[in-house]
Symmetry: C6
Subunit: 295 residues, 6 copies
């Protein structure tokens, strides 16, 4: 196993997006995010699976890393002298994520207990963008933890150390959630949601989606247009029992299979139809859409 | 990451509000709180999201820090010789907050276990105002813990140390809860609630709210009046499915976006409409209100 | 923070009531408690919130501290030579209170684990009165723990030490519960409740309550009579949706506010009406009672 | 607190009943228990609260401590040369009792972890009678733990040590449960219950109960007969909403109060009526019975 | 307590059945088990309480310990040279049994953490027969743990050590469950159950059962025939509310009591009727059967 | 116990399939998997119990270990120079599998806490194929953990170390689940499932299955054809209450018993009928199928 040590690891607060992520804006979301960042407004991203919420945050983290004084007046980012990097901390929320997982904990080490900051404390100190993905999945203690960070106080109390941490100027809190999953049990409480400016993200329009699929999968323009058309049509199958529309990612998967020689219909079956649903009737509906496009 | 250590932290019991918080009283709440403080009566703040409960406690903590002998007769606080500071400990309650989180715990350190006071024990010792935000969210052990602190005993038993702590003279317990969330499962038991004087807080009247929005967001007086009007009208949409009225904070967010050049309708959409609700029909109702104001 | 160390703490078993608590007996409860104490009968106090269960136990703990030989024949306690103190351990039960919280646990300390007695073990050893407040809230392991202490054995098995502790002569177990909260889930099992002599406590009659309010709040006799009348009338509002009657404590709060210059109607609103209920209709009923008294 | 260290403690396996407990047999339960003990048959005691299950086990533990060869032929125990003591380990089961609580656990001590036997392992090694009171309350891991101890194997596997313990000859397992509490959730599984010989215990007949009450409370014979009559009559109130009959213990409590000068009706009210039930209507029924006896 | 150290303990993997267990085969179960063992097929034993599943596994463990080359051709086991022992690890499953309980865990010991194998890892290494009794009671992590041991891989991954253990040739997994307890919540998943050859065990026929009862209890042949008849008849009472038939063990208990002089009817009442059920009507039905046999 | 140390263990990341697993492809699943591997597409295997999901992953792990440059153009794998091994990490998911179980944890060792990688971190570093079997059984924190590994980021954040791990080139994530078990509670969220290319696996056709049974059990071709026929027919009994079809494994078990001399009908009864179901009526249906084949 010679290649066993052949991997890369970073300290979380040094994880800075180095290359410009491929992102095609749908509307004014970039401008709104920039103003929110400059005004310390926390941002809530709403939208279904596969609308590029993670990609958007990565793009903004890269983009905002450029000189801040140029941000609002000059949006094309041409003046690139003295690049300032903004780390991005992404935390996928789930119902077992504890407050300690976010804030930090004591570890026993030799003769002393050593405090280890959690990702949120690291982000608060480093002035990072902290992205809590699918915030409604988090336990209540996690949700409540971010309250003092999202009002005029901008502090993070670390109860176990009896300490209060003031957020670094560059710190920005971004959370996301999928209103489609919204339920009585898993809803954002108003005392939490009224702390965020909200952006609703949607699937990109067909022409944009075709450009994304082509860029990411390497298929021809014609094929990418066909796949984007498939995406659009499949999203109209909601009344046929398809719980959630197909995301751009699955179209890219299909493209990648096609680019490696798999027949388009078969590629769409394994990357779209079967990936989307287990229901045989719904599968037939999706396959019909596939067949109507790749005759 | 040169700026990484560029943050500020305090011991929790040294967190004293240094600048006078901007607070505009709605009624006699300041006078009532001052009497309660001088008489050692615990205070329960009731009210919906965004009525400024946290801000009010911060203001009182700042205000009561001035010479106590002047408090009741002279409310303008002009005589500022020998400022006395009262720390404020704010604890956001949640269902995973344990009694140990509040009282303290033993930590292993080298050859000895060291006791670390929790925020409540720190507040009891330091004579701080201890604010338990959203008390009904707390676990039962937390709720019960405050009983001996809220009657004539004013003690905090620390079972793990076999110790009883008498509260410092200046110690004051303040709790808040939102009756709108009240349910069979999450209600204050009578044995708890009959230990507090209760203040019901409401959204500020439109003229007051306009002054707050103007002060906090930097928009013009005209714009702040329009935003306060939006707040008032949106709160009347309860019958249209809007679970909870818009808080002042979201109006300030809209103001901040407008002040940075975002068009008022768009600013209100992302800061008010989308932030308030995911329901498309309710969103349309709110947007109509927005459009009727920003024609 | 010069005054930070300016607090008092006791070892729990040294917490002895030093001054005679103000207690006005309603019936023969003092005599019955004294016999129970002398006969080693555990006592169950039943009654709604605010009927002074905690105060009664504190009073008995103080009273029984006087020479035991004089107790039954001579109830005025005039012969005070050689005062014997009986510590009081009060434990507020809740659903997260574990058996270890009561009995004790091992703590790691340097090279050894040190055993730390819990409050029940301390009480058993010190011959204290141990008061388990709201016993039905406790977890089953806690409830079961007291069984061998409440029959002829009077022992406390400490399983983690493989040890059996015999109770000190002066040890007395007192528990309380509020039958109003009684439910299928939170009921005392017969195997537990048939171990106690039971005293049912009620709200004091109006004349007694007026004397208590006057003594504790410092209002005039006339005002205290009015407040006691308010208490009596408000308790008759049960059919109007008032889940539980107002306790004496809230009347004292109202008195304290009035004594500091707050208008009686406003004082009763914040200390009684709002403290009792969030229901606007019920609040109106209570306010009507207030207005009928303080016209 | 000079008397603070003035208590007695034993190692659990040295807890031997020293004085003959006062026990009046109702039928052939002593003989059956003796045969079960000599044949290594585990015993299940069934019966409602207050029928003396604990007392019976204590009596048998004392009785069986006498020379075993004399046990069956000669029941009066006159030949007392060479007393052999059998320790009794009583464990009150509850839903939080873990297998480790019974079997043992490792404790960290200085440079080594030390194993500490739990009460069941101690009983298995010491040849004690191990009495698991209210076995149905125990968690499933506890119940399953006793299986290999109750068949021909008579072993206790200690998984954490990778060890198997063979039971000492004198070891006997006794469990109890109250069929009245039996429910779908809390029932003995057949794989458990078919491991025990079962004895059903009932409240003693009136003449026997009178003798017990007289012996334990010190009241006159006449009074004890009256109290036994109360017990008998109160047990017939089941159709009047009295969930469970009054146990002998409460009658003894009433006797003790009467013996110290409390009036019989008042003594029965606090020791029987109020102790039995919170339901005012049922209380009236019990009080009527009391009044009919103590006219 | 001189006899306190007077007990025997084994390392679990040295627990080998030394004496031939008394086992009377009902059908070809011995042959099927032998083939399964030689072919590494895991075995599932199904059957109600008291059909001797544990005894059968013990017998097979003893029997298979004889020279393996002789196993299938020659079933009488006459050639006993060079006895090879196969340890038996029995684990009673319950809902709190964790994967660590089976696989092992780290223990802190002085300056190092020491790994301690759990019973399953010990069995895998020692080539033991590992018997998981009542497998459906186990938590899901336990059930899943045995998957790689029951297919062609025959490995046990020890995640906490990052290690994979290959099973010793002689290792055999046997599980049991009682289909009568089968419920939606506690059922064997198909992905688990389709890994076992299944043997359904039933109560032995009357003549066989009589021989077992006689051998184990020491009663006369006539009495044992009567008891076996009781067993057969009681099993036909299922329609009379008897949830589960009487197992052979209870008949043996009755026999042991009779052999020590207890009257047959009384012996059957405490060992069969009361042990089987708490329902008085069902008890009457069983007693009738008893009386019809022991007139 | 001389043979006690006679077992084999590997470090998990050195567990490489050494011999070519016997795998007969049903369709183009091998080609699709190879493309997915080369394109870093995560793979989801769907299908009922016993369709060979684990075997397929093992086969692909062995096959992909051969020189990667030859993979797609040349599928017969004839050119075997310079074998590259790809370890396989199989993790059986269950509801108690924590994120720490997968990622790693700190262990105390002497004077330092030592970090121990979990199986997922080991796979990420070693470039292994990581197979999460029955992913829907996993807790939410486990499911969410794999998100950043399954998009363009291919990173594994290790929160407890404040570290981000980039996946080795050869790392591939494969998950499986059984749509038949799909329920409201245990379903793959769309945000998870839209990260995988999906392959639906089915029971092999009869001729293929016969070849597998013959190869694995050693029965004659005729017998293996008969057993495959049994498999096919038994799968048609779904309408007769057979929840899930018989997997190939059970047919192999039957074959192994037959090859060792057990009569075919009896072999099928214990290996198929009883293994499949406890329902007597369904058992009769299966037995009828068995009898119609083995007349």
């Amino acid at each position: 196993m010679a290649e066993h040590e052949n991997y890369t690891s970073y300290l979380a607060e040094e994880y800075v997006i180095q290359e410009e992520p491929f992102y095609l804006p749908v509307g004014d979301e970039i401008e709104l995010f920039e103003v929110a960042y400059s005004q310390n407004l926390p941002v809530l991203l709403k939208g279904p699976t596969g609308t590029g919420k993670t990609r958007f945050v990565e793009y903004m983290s890269y983009r905002l890393g450029r000189p801040l004084t140029k941000l609002t007046p000059n949006k094309d980012g041409s003046a690139q002298e003295e690049q300032k990097s903004i780390p991005l901390m992404t935390i996928a929320c789930h119902e077992d994520l504890t407050a300690s997982d976010l804030v930090g904990r004591y570890l026993l080490e030799g003769d002393e207990t050593r405090w280890v900051d959690g990702p949120l404390a690291r982000a608060v100190k480093a002035g990072a963008i902290c992205y809590l993905d699918e915030i409604v999945e988090a336990r209540k203690d996690t949700t409540v933890l971010i309250h003092p960070l999202t009002d005029h106080r901008r502090i993070l109390p670390i109860d176990k150390r009896g300490e209060v941490l003031e957020a670094h100027d560059g710190f920005q809190l971004v959370v996301s959630y999928n209103p489609g999953y919204q339920s009585a049990l898993k809803d954002l409480k108003h005392s939490t949601r009224q702390r965020f400016m909200a952006l609703e993200l949607t699937h990109p329009p067909a022409d944009l989606e075709a450009r994304i699929v082509q860029h990411e999968s390497g298929v021809s323009e014609e094929m990418s247009v066909a796949l984007a058309k498939l995406g659009e049509k499949a999203r109209n199958l909601k009344d046929h029992g398809l719980q959630e529309g197909v995301g751009t990612r699955l179209l890219i998967y299909a493209g990648k299979l096609i680019a490696r020689g798999i027949a388009p219909r078969r590629a769409c079956q394994v990357a779209v139809t079967w990936a989307l649903t287990d229901d045989q009737q719904v599968q037939r509906s999706v396959d019909e859409v596939v067949n109507s496009i790749f005759e």
